[in-house]
């Protein structure tokens, strides 16, 4: 284990483990409970696999009422709770604690209603992100935020981290697409916030809950906005022999008044790995590649891509290629979406998620390269260029403890760089345990104290997902 530590477990809770397990079982007989060691092992980690911890027990409820009973019991007995969806968090957001009950929502995965007249869907929080779109697709609608893990990740988990995705440049992130939640507070109280209408009354609790990393309550039901699928969509590839030119081209496209639905950026190492893995048709003789996608009718797509091509010419592209068919478009996206998996086949990696102002992109990539060389790691860059959300993948050997420690220091330095350039630590993955100790780089003590006071308005005892988001020292404020 490296330098990220977890709060010390409460010995009195550990001592009462058998009794707590027995009572939980009695309390929610319909809910699945996992208390044996083998079963709990499956929940000891999320997608930040370097960290693991066996939880006290795992509960898999099927109704909001069960969630309420479980939380009330844990509240009254001062037992911590770690909410969990599919466990795809890249920042340790669903990492259990030894003295905590994991509340896993994946059995609550029903579509409750699809209302195309009002363009909303109501679903249970354990439904996968792509499950919503599947349910609405027959009527030609879709749910817009599309994190790379969308086949696996749950809408509840998306709410916890305010997930984004490749297409959020146009459609926004989770907070822009959720109209209502049913949330169970730590004391078991059930609240309905928002409705089947836009803009909930009173304080914007949805803005607070979305992105609160499971620390405010457990969301069991969600109402999301549905959008009509576009008539068509097609990408084009723009290759450049420098990252500066590629970055300037992104700015040029936006300045010309075009906001493509996605602008993805890949550097040379990423291009080569993906092309080798998928044969997506990427050019190999370039330093930077942009995948620019636009939507509309066939004519509209042609006009837009023509115009983007004209703009791009000012930035000396080495290659310019418009997708010629649906098959080719699918291949181009397959390469991009397979990127993390492809790199994962070569090596272990950690994926950073810092955001920078677009104008600082060349400088950021330069410095990231320099930082990685200093720590003796290879790095590949694949990211959402339109919104400056970087994803440097730093390649290392997870079995080497010294490398794990070094790679975390390397990542921390990259994130500090993002903040120094006017950006932030995380654009869509969340803080979790991973970036907890870096919060003071971005925020003052007063900023953090204000956030913690809001946390206490929802969960005064700090029982929900503790040990995440804030530096371990200095919690609880007056």
């Amino acid at each position: 284990m490296s330098h990220i530590s977890l709060p010390a477990p409460d010995p009195s809770v550990l001592a009462r483990r058998n009794d707590i397990v027995k009572q939980l079982k009695k309390l929610a007989p319909e809910a699945s409970m996992i208390s044996d060691q083998e079963g709990r092992r499956a929940f000891e980690s999320d997608a930040l696999t370097a960290y693991r911890c066996l939880p006290l027990a795992v509960m898999l409820p099927t109704t909001t009422e069960e969630v309420s009973k479980i939380l009330r019991f844990c509240h009254d007995n001062h037992v911590k709770v770690v909410p969990r969806g599919a466990g795809t968090s890249l920042c340790g957001g669903a990492l259990p604690l030894e003295d905590a009950v994991v509340l896993c929502l994946t059995r609550m995965n029903q579509v409750l209603s699809i209302n195309t007249a009002d363009r909303v869907a109501r679903v249970q929080a354990g439904l996968t992100n792509s499950g919503i779109t599947q349910a609405a697709a027959a009527e030609g609608f879709f749910y817009a935020p599309d994190p790379s893990s969308q086949i696996a990740c749950t809408i509840g988990g998306n709410i916890a981290t305010n997930s984004g995705g490749a297409h959020c440049l146009k459609y926004g992130v989770t907070v822009n697409n959720v109209l209502a939640v049913r949330i169970v507070m730590m004391n078991g109280e059930i609240l309905d916030i928002g409705g089947d209408y836009l803009d909930a009354p009173g304080y914007d609790f949805l803005a607070l809950i979305i992105g609160s990393e499971g620390q405010f309550g457990v969301v069991t039901e969600v109402t999301v906005r549905l959008l009509k699928a576009p008539e068509g969509a097609r990408p084009m590839l723009l290759g450049f022999d420098s990252t500066e030119q590629a970055a300037a081209c992104v700015g040029g496209i936006i300045a010309a008044g075009i906001v493509p639905v996605a602008i993805e950026f890949m550097d040379r190492p990423a291009i080569h790995v993906c092309e080798h893995f998928v044969a997506a048709g990427y050019p190999l003789d370039v330093e930077a590649l942009l995948i620019v996608e636009v939507e509309g009718s066939e004519d509209e797509i042609d006009t837009l891509l023509e115009r983007i091509g004209e703009i791009a010419r000012d930035y000396n592209p080495v290659t310019m290629h418009r997708s010629q068919s649906a098959e080719e478009s699918a291949k181009i996206w397959k390469g991009r979406k397979a990127a993390f998996g492809a790199i994962g086949q070569l090596s272990d990696y950690i994926c950073m998620d810092g955001v920078i102002p677009l104008s600082k992109l060349p400088k950021a990539l330069d410095e990231i390269g320099w930082i990685c060389r200093k720590y003796r790691f290879d790095v590949a860059n694949i990211f959402h260029a339109g919104d400056g959300n970087l994803h440097p993948l730093i390649l290392y050997n997870a079995n080497d403890h010294l490398q794990l420690e070094r790679v975390e220091l390397c990542g921390a330095e990259i994130l500090k760089l993002c903040v120094d350039l006017g950006g932030c630590l995380t654009g869509e993955h969340g803080v979790g345990i991973e970036k907890r100790e870096l919060m003071q780089v971005q925020f003052s003590d007063a900023d953090l104290a204000q956030q913690m006071r809001v946390k206490q308005a929802f969960d005064p005892e700090w029982l929900l997902n503790p040990g995440k988001v804030f530096p371990l020292e200095g919690r609880k404020v007056q």
Binding site: L198, Y203, G257, L304
Partner: protein, 411 residues
């Protein structure tokens, strides 16, 4: 007790000065009325304050990067000035903020950016682009302890810590006083086209707007206007129609806007012959919707109701059985502007009763002082939500000195 806090009007010129002032108010427990330029002072519950603090002297653009779609601006800057600046780069505030100035007795464009976010009243384009709150990237604010706090940032995506910046949207200055706001902006489209249908009954109009809204044509405005209210528009094609008017807007590059408007007209054939407005007439019309021209002349009570579009016509019909109302449906029916007769409760009892049945929420936008003091201006909250509201208020403003009672009694 007011100690040595100077009463009257304060307009600090720096965020530090403002923080000092609030700190002083906290020490002396002096309630502060918080405002920008006061254009929405007649909206909301009247505040009993010891002093007024205004952000009107905190003005100017800190950063504007058109290629990054980012604008950082001091909270006291007038919205009109910001829109002029954005227009120079062919950009815009995507959420098309409703300008309440004219219906509340002020000029257009006078409201401040801080007030625009603190009230979160988004215009017709909200159905496509999202609300004012959706475009908040970050804020700097002074909380009720006199501390300067920052949340969010100036980049497009940010999940670092809780989203306190967005949470200040719609809080009416009761949690913290915003001093600077970072906003996402978008390119303005060069062509605007509006398809008009005439004489549709409310329920049919909602159906037509929902049909248009559910197409892939990125419809950026859907509004249905009561016959009497349609008369108040400048465009004679609308004012002279002598019937209700349903308007559907697309904005895009010229060829796309024309193509899409054409497709919409074909789809809407069943709703009678349609008229199409080109860019100039379209912009005039939508600007009049945005400044609520239809409610400017008569100072009758005015409500803003949010509900599910499909429920809107029945909701209005239910209210209309008891009181005479004139509706404008925006957001395909999801937003209802409702003019009511000058009753002592401005129609509140009937409207709230109906909302309880159908779901949704209503805000009294315009009424005389007597009505505003006597009834709930904002939608009353259920007890559990009211309790959470009080705890969140306490987390920002423990002594309750910022705009006390503006939204709800005791908050």
């Amino acid at each position: 007790m007011t100690g040595h806090m100077r009463l009257g009007f304060h307009a600090p010129e720096t965020v530090e000065e403002l923080a000092h002032l609030v700190g002083e108010a906290m020490d002396t427990r002096t309630p502060l009325e918080v405002m920008g330029r006061g254009t929405k002072r007649e909206l909301g519950r009247p505040v009993r304050s010891g002093a007024v603090v205004s952000t009107e002297s905190l003005t100017g653009v800190t950063l504007y990067e058109p290629t990054e779609l980012v604008l950082v601006v001091k909270a006291g800057t007038p919205v009109g000035k910001i829109e002029e600046l954005l227009a120079e780069s062919d950009q815009m505030l995507p959420f098309e903020p409703v300008d309440l100035g004219p219906v509340l007795g002020y000029g257009p464009g006078q409201a401040t950016v801080g007030g625009m976010i603190a009230t979160n009243f988004s215009g017709s384009r909200r159905i496509l682009s999202g609300s004012a709150r959706d475009h908040v990237l970050g804020v700097t604010a002074v909380n009720g302890r006199g501390e300067i706090i920052k949340a969010g940032g100036r980049v497009m995506k940010n999940v670092t810590g809780y989203d306190l910046g967005r949470a200040l949207a719609g809080s009416w200055g009761t949690l913290a006083i915003m001093t600077e706001v970072a906003l996402k902006v978008l390119p303005a489209q060069s062509e605007t086209r509006t398809v008009l249908c005439f004489g549709l009954p409310d329920a049919t109009a909602i159906e037509a707007m929902s049909l248009a809204h559910g197409t892939p044509f990125e419809v950026s405005g859907t509004v249905h206007i009561h016959a009497e209210l349609a008369k108040r528009f400048t465009d004679e094609g609308i004012s002279g129609a002598g019937t209700s008017v349903t308007a559907i807007r697309v904005e895009n590059l010229p060829a796309s806007a024309r193509y899409r408007a054409n497709r919409l007209r074909q789809m809407l054939q069943a709703y009678g012959p349609a008229l199409e407005l080109e860019t100039g007439r379209s912009r005039l019309f939508w600007n009049e919707v945005r400044t609520l021209r239809m409610f400017q002349k008569t100072p009758l009570p005015l409500w803003r109701i949010s509900t599910a579009p499909s429920k809107a016509p029945k909701l209005v019909a239910s209210i209309a059985r008891k009181i005479e109302v004139r509706p404008v449906y925006d957001w395909s029916g999801g937003l209802i502007w409702l003019e009511t007769p000058p009753l002592s409760d401005a129609g509140a009892v009937e409207i709230r009763r109906t909302l309880a049945e159908f779901g949704g929420h209503g805000t009294l936008i315009r009424a005389d002082d007597q009505a505003r003091a006597a009834i709930d201006v904002f939608q009353p909250l259920d007890p559990p939500l009211a309790a959470l509201t009080a705890r969140v208020k306490q987390a920002f403003d423990p002594d309750g000195i910022l705009n006390p009672g503006r939204m709800y009694p005791g908050i």
